[in-house]
Symmetry: D2
Subunit: 350 residues, 4 copies
């Protein structure tokens, strides 16, 4: 067998195609991986819908997808892996970094300015097979469930966000309960948060937030967020804000609910520039610290994920709400786009 099935963007414009394609050959410093499970990211939905960002970034034809777990089945000529073997159960960091810029040399490769992203800038993992630089491969514990292993790239966003701030014995407000927001709830709990309040505009997602451990979930519009949130934190505001929605109103409300000296980590990307942001009162005069969060730390975040998942401190299973064979990719992506899902995992070759 020399060909494989894959989900690809073939032309500019909305939609994907299900294509037959040559199985790729690994380059000298690459590995060939048989994809066993791949999960859907909101970014994939953006590319599917061909939004403004996609139009500027994506160059078809391109196989989509950057979250997966699978098995190593071949090595490139110059791979001298010290810790990898054929048959290893692996996932991958989706950011392919240069290794030679100042950020990379200082151990901050997650913000390498030369980053290319799997399934965005190079062919991705919505496919039966995939090639990747060996340096991007992460070996999973054998006992990790396949569907959980597949989520790690996205889980890493949540772990990176939460671990950037200190939530130990702190009150935490999480604005936005998409997948990354939802996954940040058990992480904040695992890392010592005292009280976790989560907000969103979707009752479906708020129910998931409650299921994974939020102490209080509030509808950002229908509930009186300020008052109800204050009641649970002794009317002293929050120590930490995790902004996972990108909604300007959530950012403003979240910052207004921070204590003086509080800290916010911002992962959610706004749909546009901010049109009315009260930097003086929300940030400067309260002595607030804001951390912009990009990607996952290489490889600190992956070590943290391994610890959280293998010790069963964090259980991601309740967040996997749907599973499909890859051949039903369209149904899977439409489900994700509906907002009525947690994480969705697809299985190639079924």
């Amino acid at each position: 067998m020399t060909t494989m099935q894959a989900v690809a963007k073939l032309h500019s414009g909305p939609g994907f195609a299900y294509i037959q394609k040559e199985i790729p050959t690994p380059g000298q410093q690459e590995v060939l991986i048989k994809v066993q499970a791949t999960s859907i990211c909101g970014t994939d939905v953006h590319i599917y819908k061909w939004d403004h960002w996609s139009q500027n970034r994506i160059h078809p034809p391109l196989i989509i997808g950057h979250e997966f777990a699978g098995e190593i089945i071949a090595f490139g000529d110059q791979v001298h892996p010290d810790e990898l073997q054929l048959g290893d159960f692996v996932s991958a960091e989706s950011h392919i970094v240069c290794g030679t810029c100042q950020q990379c040399r200082l151990g901050h490769a997650h913000i390498c300015p030369n980053t290319r992203i799997l399934g965005v800038d190079t062919n991705g993992c919505y496919a039966e097979y995939l090639t990747l630089p060996v340096n991007n491969v992460w070996k999973n514990p054998k006992t990790m469930p396949l569907e959980v292993a597949s989520l790690q790239e996205n889980f890493g966003n949540a772990v990176h966000t939460v671990s950037t701030v200190d939530v130990r014995a702190k009150t935490v407000l999480i604005t936005g309960c998409g997948p990354a927001g939802l996954m940040s709830i058990p992480v904040a709990r695992a890392f010592g948060a005292e009280i976790i309040v989560a907000t969103d505009v979707s009752p479906y997602r708020l129910e998931l937030a409650r299921k994974v451990g939020a102490d209080l979930v509030l509808h950002a519009i229908n509930d009186n967020v300020s008052q109800q949130a204050q009641d649970i934190v002794r009317h002293k505001n929050f120590d930490v804000l995790l902004e996972m929605s990108g909604a300007p109103s959530a950012l403003a409300q979240g910052l207004s609910l921070l204590k003086p000296g509080g800290t916010a980590a911002l992962l959610g990307l706004a749909p546009d520039t901010l049109k009315d942001f009260d930097l003086n009162n929300l940030v400067i005069m309260k002595g607030i610290t804001l951390h912009g969060i990009a990607g996952r730390r290489l490889w600190e975040t992956w070590y943290q994920m391994r610890a959280l998942l293998t010790s069963n401190v964090v259980d991601l299973a309740p967040l996997i709400t749907h599973q499909f064979p890859l051949s039903r990719w369209q149904e899977a992506i439409e489900t994700m786009a509906s907002g009525k899902s947690g994480k969705i995992v697809m299985y190639p070759g079924e």
Copy 2:
């Protein structure tokens, strides 16, 4: 003698008056200080002009002024000072804090939500005498020049801003060369900055910036800031931004010139909310950290100032461009308002 001269806001509206008033009596936990020098802050000019902020905050009648140096001449009944004596040469932290809130109890009194400010919420130091809580008093080294001692409250803003970030062996961009911006230049140098670039729109202030040690000064409008700044930092952008102007354009330009993973400390207050702030590209996707800066740390900043000034690592003398007797307060304030000054010191009783 039981009366004193003072500069006060007597009624709502622009302007100040020069008044004769009873010398105040120290409360039980207060001290009475003979003011020997007092310096002008931009805030005082705002109150003089009666801007929007002043109209909401200031309740006349009120003696203005919060930067000074002087001599302790009386103690309240219940002051049991362990380290203070009559005749001590002192300055003062202008933030009068509650001491019992969570921020105070955690050692972050500079962001106490119950803060009252000298010369803003209580009678200030544009006067021959002044009373203050003993807890706000800072004993100056005897050898510190009077005019320098007077500047410390404002110098503390600069020291707090610079010390919040790590400038050691880093490239630093300072946007805004008002007094706090100018004072931050020698502090950044003292704390190890490799290269310091300063921007402003006033040639007068840029000349002062050069005088106190900026490696490159650029006119924010007339110069090609991006290109000229990049040339001096090897085209690798800056590690650190100190935003001291409050100008939205300076903030945006400064953040765009930061490296991925860079850090910004924001002291400048914008004239209004931000109307077009690109949070995604300027902060989140680059993994930038922003620190809102309020006041000065009690008392870490004061210890730092003592070290910087007594070791002569920082020399503030070049920034004192004008000196007046207090009786010429109007000329002094108009000079400050003109933008063609550094710090201006006034002397009561002359």
Copy 3:
């Protein structure tokens, strides 16, 4: 009633006496507290036995005890408490600090060089009543169980130790399972430790360690600590050492089991100076960081304790192995001295 019962050291030498004494009157800045529960610290046993340290530090006559919970029943003349009222349920920080030294002014009062300690330098809480500076009082949540509230001073040592290092997703070795060591186990778990291994030489204490959540407990002499500990941490050594025993052999073994770049927090006090400490190999060449831990942070540790206890993330109840009326103090102290106990709580007035 103007007298009370108390446990005191009346003369140099071993032993305590049960005495009748005037109920103290609060000084101007003090409060009078009715003690409802008091717990025994190892230090109290040292004073009882009159060890070398006690002989140099304790000046009889002195009422012993520094861990308690009780009720405020009177205020001194000059107490203007903003947050306290008669009848409040309180505990106290045992370190009475000066408030004016550099450490205090910088928010590091836990290492104030002028510290006096309750029940060591001033009359303590093994009594029906107690006076204390109002600044030392901590208001407990009303719902906190009395016996748990009494433990907080000691619990604070554990919380301070654990929170000084970053245990999030880390492997943690705890050497020493006395009360502070035992309490550090659920705290390390609450703050995100992946794997917790605890060692001691007492099977009784190791059983308690298991009960409060250690993943593996090892007898420091009878077990092959290095091998068994390595098995559970993938033969990669530990990220964090919490040294809670003071045993030089535990310190050496713990440091030898740290990863390069690991961190140790040291609370246990050695019986003497170290006679054979391999600083080169255990610390310097591995790039280890050691934190000496003294007391509890004022007041950060207390806020952390409140969060951990009121959220029920940490349950100290299993560690309270014995309870006595204060009148049976001798039996209580002998039980503590036997090493076959966790925490022991005594109740005055019963």
Copy 4:
């Protein structure tokens, strides 16, 4: 020409030999460098004298030396350098790390447990030519003086030590004025130290310490260190200790002179285990933090060095007290061994 001159340890036992040897060929991922200057480290003297450590670590025959500057003259087959070219003026990190262990993957390669060291575990740079992994090469600014460029490996120890602690506006005690101790003086000054006191037992070295900027130099035996040091720091002890000597007496004295809450960075290696170290009083009860320092951070320290040297904030020239052709290696090493030198630079091919 296919052979070169080199200084090598040919057999177990004291001494070196000056040998003729084939110029090495670079391996696939290596570069060949023409050595233009090489400087002497204390470690080289230990190997020369064949001390206890050397006997266990060094496997002759071995070319010695790990500090140098030179020119790239050939690349291995598989080197795809993005930033290097033939003719580049370079120095090198002497620690050859594995790149795949947890420490390396977390950005802490300076403590990689698989480290091999140039001139210790592999042939070094006391030679006309040298091969090295391309990943170890650091490109020097063209304007950097040759003799200064050669010192960087050792200078990196000083920069790493000083930058591990926060010396900004702090009082700093440096115990030990060997080359690393001496180089740490201008670094501490550059990074903001208020007052720097240096101790040693060699008047020659104390004179050098004064020359590079110590505020006070004290003879560790002949002067009354405690009293004289205290006089200059207002009798408040030191914020920071940099222990650069390895002498147990210096460590104890240095720690005793630290403030409560102070920080120490330890680079000096003791001649043996510590035989009487008062951990309780010197570290634990004062809440001291100790940092063991190994090597230099890859590559943060090198970026810091570039900043310090190219901005002329640090001038190492006064510390270069002797220069020799490589052929006079024996005289050079004996001079270094005498203790009456700063750094000594040797020039191959002269």
